[in-house]
């Protein structure tokens, strides 16, 4: 690459940060100028939000400054994004600045849309109805849980896509443990309400997770599509008029793309996500636009691990694009999640577009147990936070963990999926 090119990255979360840092290391500032935009300067370690309601993490522990995570030689703009003009290759910021680009990376993630569910913003919001999917919600819920001694706790996500589809289940498991610890579990009923026909979307993992819910005495109501939340009468009402009453509800609001996507003709779909090639992560909107992480409309989980694995592929493909070469790297849909089950244990699942989570070991025959509760998986989940700040965001490779889903340690015969 001989000429000077301009790269604009929208969003400085997991994806935008790791992409900016990897690109900065690969190209000199003479070759590639990198501008990163985000609306605030608070980078939240989102997996930590699960622990805040139970007093297992303090809000301060999981937040750092966005600009401090970016390498030298990256220009950071703290400003709201107004729109992207995909014809003119321009980004318009709310402060009047226009950034022009040769290549654009959209990594603005997904936002919570509580206003899209009838009644959810009613008087009982943050009083008897909470979410732990943002920091204010998780913090407020911590206080409420401390005083909750008896009654019916309901956990409900309304519809996919949501970030980390296992987090609502983890919340149920941790709540069971938390109330046991406080000696009030017998006075509290816990019900997990889901629009799916089982505890999880993938059959083998769903069977394991259903068994765990059962062992912990957590009720499940499936195929319940919440259309309305009455925060005063304290009930969930489904689109087909079924009702679930509660004393305390923990809900996961609907998710959508960032607001500016809707103000940018041609950029996103109805939900504000960016259509792209599932394997190259190049948008189908225009060749010089790429997508990373939750902002992408790819058929896998919205999760940090997905963003991490996508990131490595994306950098190679942006490199190829800038040099006019064919893009050869392929993302396979690889996702990897620790699932906290309480009592200092966790499960690990690992899957991709074609292979559902199965038992075995990760990343090879000698490794962490898959789809099985263990203490070492819990330690893995706790250690991950340090890895996130010190290796994942700076863009360092993790020894032994590659981009593509490993098959070596897996019992793939147990899978009904094609692979």
């Amino acid at each position: 690459m001989t000429k000077h090119q301009r790269m604009v990255i929208l969003g400085a979360g997991t994806g935008g940060t790791l992409a900016a840092n990897r690109l900065r290391r690969r190209f000199s500032t003479a070759e590639l100028e990198i501008d990163v935009v985000d609306q605030d300067n608070q980078h939240v370690y989102q997996p930590g939000l699960l622990f805040v309601p139970f007093g297992l993490a303090e809000p301060d522990d999981i937040v750092r400054k966005r600009d401090r995570q970016l390498h030298k030689g990256i220009n950071y703009h703290q400003c709201e994004i107004s729109s992207v003009d995909i014809e003119a290759d321009e980004v318009h910021l709310a402060n009047g600045t226009t950034l022009t680009y040769d290549v654009l990376l959209v990594s603005t993630g997904t936002k919570l849309l509580p206003e899209e569910t009838e009644g959810l913003d009613g008087p009982g919001w943050n009083k008897d109805v909470f979410t732990f999917y943002d920091l204010p919600g998780a913090t407020a819920l911590a206080e409420r849980l401390e005083d909750f001694r008896s009654g019916h706790l309901v956990i409900n996500f309304f519809d996919l896509p949501i970030k980390c589809p296992v987090a609502p289940l983890e919340f149920a498991f941790l709540a069971d443990w938390y109330f046991h610890d406080k000696g009030v579990r017998d006075d509290i009923t816990i019900t997990y309400v889901t629009p799916l026909d089982a505890a999880f979307t993938k059959p083998t993992a769903a069977a394991t997770l259903s068994k765990l819910l059962d062992e912990k005495g957590i009720n499940v109501i499936s195929e319940f599509n919440t259309g309305e939340v009455d925060t005063v009468a304290k009930k969930l009402i489904s689109f087909d008029d079924r009702e679930v009453e509660f004393d305390l509800a923990v809900v996961i609001p609907l998710h959508g793309g960032a607001d500016y996507v809707h103000e940018s003709p041609g950029l996103g779909d109805e939900l504000g996500f960016i259509p792209c090639d599932n394997n190259t992560l190049q948008s189908t909107v225009k060749p010089n636009i790429f997508v990373l992480g939750d902002a992408a409309d790819v058929p896998t989980s919205k999760a940090g691990s997905v963003t991490h694995f996508e990131g490595e592929v994306l950098i190679e493909n942006i490199d190829a694009y800038l040099h006019g070469r064919e893009m050869v790297e392929r993302y396979d849909g690889h996702a990897n999640c620790f699932i906290e089950t309480g009592y200092s244990k966790a499960l690990l699942i690992d899957f991709n577009y074609d292979t559902e989570p199965v038992p075995g070991h990760f990343p090879g025959p000698v490794g962490l147990p898959l789809l099985k509760e263990s203490r070492i998986n819990h330690l893995g989940k706790l250690m991950f936070q340090s890895f996130y700040w010190h290796a994942l965001l700076p863009g360092r490779d993790m020894p032994g963990v590659g981009t593509h889903m490993p098959k070596a340690g897996k019992h793939l015969v147990a899978s009904g999926d094609k692979s």
Partner: protein, 106 residues
């Protein structure tokens, strides 16, 4: 894969009953599939708005729409979708439209 008889033709279906090849589907099969999966027949014009939208989405994007996308883009709102296709509008309308279970249900 098991096969089943639909509208006088033998077609391949997967374990959940979704047609394996959407090109084998005919409009006559839609009514039989609806009967099989608890959707009231005869199918109305409103059912067909959704079924046709699902097939269009599938052939354009490689997957049928989710409930939310249907509610925003098909011209039938979410509450009516649940009246037309009780319990699971996306799954049921995909089934009746002869296309695979919509992705994004992850």
């Amino acid at each position: 894969m098991p096969t089943t008889q639909l509208a006088g033709k033998s077609v391949e279906v997967n374990d959940e009953g979704f047609l394996v090849d959407p090109n084998e589907w005919t409009e006559e099969m839609a009514t039989e599939l609806a009967d099989l999966h608890g959707v009231a027949t005869p199918l109305t014009d409103r059912h067909w708005v959704v079924i046709n939208f699902m097939r269009k989405e599938y052939f354009e994007n490689g997957t049928g729409a989710t409930v939310r996308k249907l509610g925003k883009a098909s011209g039938v709102n979410t509450r009516e979708l649940f009246q037309l296709f009780p319990k699971g509008p996306a799954k049921l309308s995909a089934m009746i439209a002869g296309i695979p279970k919509p992705k994004g249900c992850i």
